[in-house]
Symmetry: C2
Subunit: 205 residues, 2 copies
């Protein structure tokens, strides 16, 4: 037997289980949310899950948090890397919205599961609210940099943007014939163009 030591520190094991959860949810959606499948993915016995997470709900909430954290981090990295658009970082955000590591259809599979759990779980709702507020704050920050002379409420604009992007992702991912994201990307681009044009000249009256 080559097994010498499979023991990990609790934080390592926890994040390993979270990783396995994300893989299962991205692969199978709601059908992948199973203690046994997740533990099999992590190559770990079933009982271990409840040693590190008291209930499945807590694992899912942690996975939601982690998925959002990664998403957020990827966005930050993209904006930071794109120095030439620093005057309007929202352009960078928009232009990479449908790239593979930002939003893959598989990832939306997992998100739909998170949303469905958010509906009937207090803890998931709290997690969702926290995640949402973090992303919203960041979006406001990005918009403030992009539209320094905007008269309108940036928070409102941030909600509109994230709603639009979520809706486009949904439509794109659920669509039966989603080869390319070109159409949805174009829609988002046009929305940005219009928004930027209006924000620059907000008083045509």
């Amino acid at each position: 037997m080559k097994k010498k030591s499979d023991r990990l520190s609790p934080p390592e094991r926890r994040s390993q289980l979270i990783e396995a959860t994300l893989i299962c949810l991205m692969r199978e959606g709601a059908r992948g949310l199973s203690s046994r499948k997740i533990c099999a993915q992590a190559q770990v016995s079933v009982g271990l899950l409840n040693h590190h997470f008291s209930r499945q709900e807590q694992l899912v909430a942690a996975a939601y948090e982690e998925s959002s954290r990664r998403h957020h981090e990827t966005l930050r990295a993209r904006i930071q890397a794109d120095a030439q658009n620093q005057d309007a970082p929202i352009k960078t955000l928009v232009s990479c919205a449908f790239e593979e590591d930002i939003m893959h259809p598989d990832q939306l599979r997992a998100w739909v599961v998170f949303w469905s759990k958010t509906i009937d779980s207090k803890m998931m709702r709290a997690t969702h609210d926290r995640i949402n507020e973090r992303l919203q704050s960041y979006l406001i920050e990005v918009l403030a940099q992009s539209l320094p002379n905007c008269a309108g409420d940036l928070r409102v604009l941030a909600i509109e943007y994230s709603a639009l992007v979520d809706g486009l992702w949904l439509d794109w991912s659920l669509n039966g014939k989603h080869q390319s994201a070109e159409l949805w990307q174009t829609i988002l681009n046009q929305w940005l163009d219009r928004t930027l044009a209006l924000a620059s000249a907000p008083v045509p009256d």
Copy 2:
């Protein structure tokens, strides 16, 4: 015993089961999708379900179709009833988007379930595509009436609109503190104002 005849014609029984499914999904979300719960809601024995629907998948697809049909019908009725806005029926559509019978948070519970099933079921995906295309055609029709002089592609605008509305509904329904839809309604109103303004004067160059 007062039971004289509980027997219904197949179409009646089918729609009764579909109705029960919608109630269960709206009440409990994914947890409500259970043959036994649905049959209990319909006050009917478990075995009857598989007599009228060969698999649960077919029942869910039928419920999705029915839910969309009702939604569509309600929208049509609103627009038809609102005669004064006949020049821009999109205004009517927008202004009632968050009214109770158009989109209740409970209804989104059911929709999230439909979406999650759309991800890993061929039949559900086909149903989703059919539903989506019907709604899109209607939206294009409404937009054509509202923007007779619009130079842009109405199909693209329709996709943007429905994505935005879906996203706003999601954000509104999942939000922990969603007392009033006022904020989201305002966002949608402002989007429409901007869109109408640009469509009326599309060549500022």
